[in-house]
């Protein structure tokens, strides 16, 4: 009878079983056996018994000849909870293996009893479960997830752009998230600033954002910077972060951030939204253009209306904020092609994306070849951006 047509209870009756303790005793005695893990590769990657060989259930018949050519070899087989391994034991017997035993309860019972396993380093069991859809992606894997867990990202603003960015970066397990905002939640914010809520109107935005972030993912350490970035505090605030996400609502802050981040060589993911349109680019100092290479001079006030003056479709903040989160994750994990040297425009009415090339400006006063080095003593000294932007 084929293994697949028998009930699992019947199979378990017919095969030899060991309790986890019995199996551990035999393993520690170091007898002549081969330990087989009949689960999927991603399960094996998270945790397995020391020395176990992986044979996914669908590949038992195909692979066993290569792994164990001798059919008289003793085999100890386990899976997650004991069902797949029981079927594998039955199948192996059908293939002529004479001395095959199933470890009851699988690695779940094994771990519940506190018996030793080889685990993916740097992640707890809860984290392996929480981030399994990331670690399943070969491009991310456990290694990439650990990079995310160790990353420090600063968000400029817990507003329209910062809200969706923070939500998804929190869900992704960014280990440390700083938020700079000196504002409190206003009713008119809730149309797009989805990290806040109606019952938190009047609460500081950093505090409100922290509540939502930690509700979603307690792994994230949120650092509140309840202030506005200015020339005095910017170096101290941004210097310990790996990446800054710029969703600032004014030009003086954008130029200040650019100049400071170039000095400190910190990448900036920059987006802006107005009405039905958005722009986004990633500025990697000296590897690509900076904000000033793209916009050497701020526009006059009549060409620089704010969302407060002109309105903005709430969804725009979501689309552009998530594109920012996507850039951050790629930069942290080191995959894909970030928007370096490219400006992406999104027109939500037409549902059209347009990509423009952005080149390093050889005359850039900040990152160009002739830009003066900033001496250590002047690291935190900046020109008057309010004046510059008038």
């Amino acid at each position: 009878m084929e293994a697949g047509t028998l009930k699992i209870e019947d199979i378990k009756q017919r095969i030899q079983n060991l309790t986890p303790e019995e199996a551990l005793e035999e393993i520690e005695a170091g007898g002549d056996f081969v330990l087989l893990d009949t689960r999927e590769p991603h399960e094996y990657a998270e945790a397995h018994l020391e020395g176990a060989k992986l044979v996914p259930p669908a590949e038992v018949a195909e692979q066993i000849d290569d792994i164990v050519p001798d059919t008289s070899q003793r085999l100890l087989v386990y899976c997650r909870s004991g069902n797949r391994s029981a079927r594998a034991v039955h199948q192996l017997e059908g293939l002529g293996y004479e001395n095959v035993v199933n470890i009851e309860g699988g690695i779940v019972e094994w771990q519940e009893k506190g018996l030793p396993v080889a685990e993916a380093e740097g992640m707890t069991r809860e984290q392996r479960e929480r981030y399994s859809r990331h670690t399943l992606l070969p491009e991310v894997g456990v290694e990439g997830q650990i990079k995310l867990l160790n990353a420090k990202v600063l968000l400029l603003g817990a507003g329209g752009l910062g809200s969706p960015t923070a939500l998804y970066l929190a869900a992704a397990g960014i280990g440390t998230m700083g938020i700079v905002d000196d504002d409190v939640v206003d009713e008119s914010n809730l149309q797009r600033q989805v990290i806040h809520s109606t019952d938190r109107v009047g609460v500081p935005k950093t505090e409100s954002a922290k509540v939502t972030i930690n509700g979603l993912n307690p792994d994230v350490e949120v650092i509140e910077h309840r202030t506005r970035l200015d020339a005095e505090n910017i170096i101290d605030i941004i210097k310990d972060y790996d990446i800054v996400v710029d969703g600032a609502d004014n030009f003086p802050t954008r130029y200040l951030l650019n100049d400071a981040s170039v000095r400190l060589k910190i990448p900036v993911v920059s987006a802006s939204i107005l009405a039905f349109e958005g722009q986004i680019s990633t500025f990697l100092p000296f590897d690509g253009p900076c904000y000033r290479c793209l916009y050497p001079t701020p526009p006059p006030a009549e060409l620089a209306p704010s969302c407060g003056d002109n309105g903005v479709l709430g969804v725009m903040a979501g689309v552009m904020g998530l594109l920012q989160a996507n850039e951050v994750i790629k930069l942290v994990v080191g995959i894909g092609e970030p928007l370096i040297g490219r400006l992406l425009l999104y027109d939500s009415l037409g549902t059209r994306f347009t990509e423009l090339k952005v080149r390093r400006d050889p005359n850039c006063p900040i990152c160009g070849p002739d830009a003066p080095e900033t001496p250590e003593s002047e690291m935190g000294v900046f020109p008057d951006y309010e004046l510059f932007c008038q």
């Binding site: 603003g157 704010s306 423009l356």
Partner: protein, 93 residues
Amino acid sequence: MPTIKVPPVLRPQTDGEAEVTVDGSTVGEALNALASKYSGTKDQLFGPEGDLNRYVNVYLNDEDVRVLDGLDTKASDSDNIVILPAMAGGQSD
């Protein structure tokens, strides 16, 4: 006749039009044609000397005209001319 993509901040000057098709065989001719048709755009695009204002980025398709031939860059009928302003919305406003 190249097509000019007008950014939201200039649309009050183009009667709300987001795309305007104009005569002209260079970027400069096309932008001047836009400025003649919608006079409100002129001061925002050009300085007193007739040069492009530095805060206005102009692209022929996906390339900044400053790395091409500036206002003399040839533009054909199938080309898009993108006028790009800096924007700063996003945080609290």
